[in-house]
Symmetry: C2
Subunit: 318 residues, 2 copies
């Protein structure tokens, strides 16, 4: 109902009378008044002028379900949303919902995270209302060994979405960090919950620095606000991400991994460089040649031997 009221308020340039709204939606004036109060509590600035009616002055930058759903043109991605003011981590919630059978495309959003998770047990700084903190539940019909293509797919989709929604050009650092001007803008974490021969579900999670101020970030990180010198709508960015992820997912289902790998190669900043990859108690140094379908990195060492590295942290040497 609040969504419908907002729609009416947003459609109207000037004022719309309470009588018109309650008539249109078939609710009492008293019920309307209550809904308006609740919207105000959520941060919507709604002016009420006697004899004129209501006018929406401004909307808060919040990821409320009805804000995200308004104008979201996907088939399944993000069509079911679980929204929270604060979570330990959207991943924890996604895990619980996934175990209970949440559908493919279910989205978990939080305005802040108290224990935001990064790769390899690290944390992700998740201040309130500044970033996008999201987890998407997927149930792909593939073997667990094929799942890593979705890690690459996520990076590609988010890169393109950032470009489309904000104009900021980003690069992917293997395996799936997203950089702007060589600083970290977005981290992606892909998790698989699987039997030996069957994926139960996957969780693709992302933390994106959107409206973070430069001074709140460590020197190796950046935000879209820092890049654009302007704040931007997290809702629009999120909608674009969901659209890109779903589009790529459908391409993967139809045409296999090749188009995703090709896009990844276009966006990446690791291939062709000299790299040092730290992986499971050892490191591999050499030239980053290519990735293969399982997402692994092929590194040609100085002795001429090419090693396939599945995991780890990469340092770009020069």
């Amino acid at each position: 109902m609040q969504n419908k009221i907002l729609n009416l308020l947003k459609k109207k340039e000037g004022y719309i009378s309470g009588e018109d709204i309650s008539g249109h939606l078939d609710i009492s004036r008293q019920a309307l008044w209550k809904h308006i109060q609740e919207l105000k509590d959520k941060g919507y600035v709604i002016e009420a002028v006697p004899h004129l009616g209501y006018h929406l002055e401004s909307s808060p930058d919040r990821l409320f379900e009805f804000e995200v759903l308004r104008g979201l043109n996907t088939k399944t991605f993000g069509k079911k949303i679980f929204y929270f003011d604060t979570l330990t981590s959207t991943i924890d919630m996604a895990m619980a919902l996934g175990v209970k059978g949440a559908a493919n495309g279910t989205l978990i959003l939080a305005e802040s995270q108290t224990k935001g998770k990064g790769r390899l047990g690290r944390t992700w700084f998740s201040p309130k209302h500044k970033g996008l903190y999201m987890s998407l539940i997927l149930r792909p019909d593939m073997l667990p060994t094929q799942a890593s293509i979705l890690t690459l797919l996520a990076a590609v989709g988010i890169c393109d979405a950032i470009k489309n929604a904000t104009g900021v050009t980003t690069q992917i650092k293997w395996p799936n960090d997203i950089l702007a001007n060589n600083k970290k803008l977005c981290g992606i974490l892909t998790q698989v919950i699987a039997e030996t021969d069957r994926i139960d579900f996957m969780i693709i999670s992302a933390g994106i620095n959107v409206n973070n101020d430069k001074k709140s970030l460590v020197s190796t990180a950046t935000s879209l606000k820092e890049q654009k010198k302007d704040e931007m709508s997290r809702v629009s960015l999120l909608q674009e991400i969901l659209r890109e992820l779903e589009a790529n997912y459908l391409v993967l289902e139809k045409k296999g991994a090749s188009p995703i790998l090709e896009k990844w190669r276009q966006h990446n900043t690791t291939l062709g460089r000299r790299v040092k990859v730290y992986c499971q108690h050892k490191h591999v140094e050499g030239e980053a040649l290519d990735i293969d379908t399982d997402g692994g990195l092929l590194v040609r060492k100085d002795n001429g031997i090419t090693e396939h590295v599945m995991a780890g942290d990469v340092v770009h040497c020069r």
Copy 2:
């Protein structure tokens, strides 16, 4: 405290006076009486004779934490136990506890399951007090792609434990069904919760038909009771399983996969047979040649080509 009282009762052949017990454990006679009542409620038959004291007539076949811990000679496996009368599935609980950081070796037990899970989305019939329904949380330091060896390890360990605890000889049908006289005695389900390059945790779950009556089982299933013509202690069997699993796990850490694979080959009933493997919308038919380190089955087809099958259901053709 109830554990300590039981220990005293079990140590004593005849009667032990309330005075002795309360003196020994430094509790009041009233407190002792309350504990005795609670033990009776749990199914312990405790006789109380004036002037003589207490005598433990019989213990119920229950998987209470203190029963399992008494005499369990493992280092970590099963040292932390979550025991439930009924669960939807021990797996669901293991997933929730694993996400919250439950330690390596944590054991989840249920006397019955309302939605016991089998492989590939199937169910496991889990009547109360008849079977063993368990999930073990592991945190191995290996890559997700290496995890399937633990599926084989679980099958091997449970086979040996059944032999040690009951004398019943069993065979493993690829990948990890345990058969006795060609009927299914035990199902094992291994799940991995992982990032691309790091296992967060694994859940090894087993359902074992122990004291099920023949008439309650489908024709393709059997129980240890049917094989032995006698009921047996689920606690002893469970302790032996935990011991074997841990021993094999330590072997894996020290010596790698080879000894586990060798044991698996010894126990298996699939290799050398003509098989039909149903896997991901297709099937492969031929001779089951061997398994490899990732747990996959090598099948030599009639055209001479050997195919590596990772997943699926196998039918022994003859």
